[in-house]
């Protein structure tokens, strides 16, 4: 075996949060380094595959971009099954999306269990209309027992860092 390619992993990552918080944009930024300004709600779930190398390991991420709109509530539980990790996303300019994070967290625990996760505070590039402070986000991260990242899918700030951190969490869990 090539020493630089130690292991191959496949992980399913569910990306959850209210509608229009930027879940699809975060995945597009991470997977394809692009940002589309026009908003088009996800219908059901969109699945994106991204392969990365981390510490010599090949990691295949199956990212499930799950529709945030309530019309998908009845089938959403099916999408959680088999997830290895989760990304909880809210929009720093819309406090209601922040307030709903505990509901998404409850769903996650109910259908996927206590899996590795990160909290993402997205749209930090919109500084003039930002409503949630770093201190408030830190408190929420403690509640859901996750590390948090303040990101911008629009300019790419911290997006890669969040996904790589999550990938490390999953591989470390397996190694342990």
């Amino acid at each position: 075996m090539d020493e630089k390619s130690k292991h191959r992993y496949v992980f399913k990552v569910v990306v959850i949060g209210d509608g229009a918080v930027g879940k699809t944009s975060l995945i597009n930024r991470f997977a394809e380094q692009k940002f589309i300004k026009e908003y088009k709600p996800t219908l059901g779930t969109n699945i994106v595959i991204k392969e990365i190398q981390e510490n010599g390991d090949n990691i295949r991420l199956l990212m499930w971009d799950i529709a945030g709109q309530s019309k998908w509530k009845d089938v959403r539980h099916l999408y959680y099954q088999g997830a290895s990790s989760a990304i909880l996303v809210f929009d720093v300019t819309r406090p209601e999306t922040f307030n709903n994070i505990p509901h998404w967290f409850d769903d996650l625990l109910k259908y996927s269990g206590d899996i590795p996760r990160v909290l993402i505070a997205n749209k930090i590039d919109l500084t003039e209309i930002r409503k949630k402070s770093t201190e408030e986000i830190k408190e929420m991260a403690e509640k859901v027992n996750a590390k948090f990242f303040e990101t911008s899918a629009a300019d790419g700030t911290n997006v890669l860092e969040a996904f790589i951190y999550l990938a490390r969490l999953m591989t470390n869990k397996i190694v342990k």
Binding site: K12, G44, T45, N46, I47, V75, L78, Q81, S84
Partner: protein, 199 residues
């Protein structure tokens, strides 16, 4: 002599479109399109299900198999519930008329291939599928059976026939090295489906 389903070359067009419609219901348009893209069947992304499909219309088996394979890769990872639900929906679109199990398995044999046998033992019904058109050429990576789509379809057939709830457990699978895929049909009160579907 065993029949390679690929040698059948063609399957009924209605089977393919019914599965796309079932996927659309469960995964939404974006989910269905993700599966089609992975299968390199992009040309079907904007194709709507025809209002009426003649039972004589056919589609290349390889196209159907690419779709199934893509569903296993994208949806089957760690989850059987979506594939099982897709099977139930698929059956509704294939035949909403509540035909009996023995009639329906002959129809499925005709539509998608394989050799389907219904075995009745006391109050138990078992369906054996040889040369299974669903898991053909695939190996189970989880060490568990993988033909949840057929399981879901059989459960819906029984429900439509009797008006009662049924679960279907796949005890054998060609993808595990068994000679056939074997499905046991059980009345719902006898088994908790969540227990069965637990990965």
């Amino acid at each position: 002599m065993t029949l390679n389903p690929m040698e059948k070359k063609e399957i009924s067009m209605n089977v393919f479109y019914a599965l796309l419609t079932a996927l659309n219901d469960i995964m939404g348009q974006d989910g269905k399109n993700s599966v089609l893209r992975y299968a390199k069947l992009d040309k079907y992304i904007h194709t709507h299900t025809p209002d009426e499909i003649s039972m004589d219309e056919k589609i290349d088996y390889n196209i159907f198999h690419s779709l199934i394979n893509s569903m296993f890769v994208l949806l089957g990872f760690g989850t059987s519930a979506i594939l099982y639900e897709a099977g139930r929906k698929w059956l509704i679109y294939l035949s909403p008329f509540g035909l009996s199990l023995d009639v329906m398995i002959k129809k499925l044999e005709n539509w998608i291939g394989g050799k389907w046998d219904l075995i009745k033992k006391d109050d138990l019904e078992i369906v054996d599928v040889y040369e299974c058109p669903i898991c053909y050429g695939l190996k189970s990576m989880s060490g568990k059976p993988i033909c949840h789509i057929i399981g879901g379809a059989l459960s819906k057939i029984k429900e439509s026939e009797t008006g009662e709830k049924y679960d279907v457990i796949e005890d054998k699978c060609i993808a595990l090295g068994d000679k056939c895929c074997e499905f046991r049909i059980v009345k719902k009160y006898k088994l908790d489906v969540k227990e069965y579907l637990k990965e």
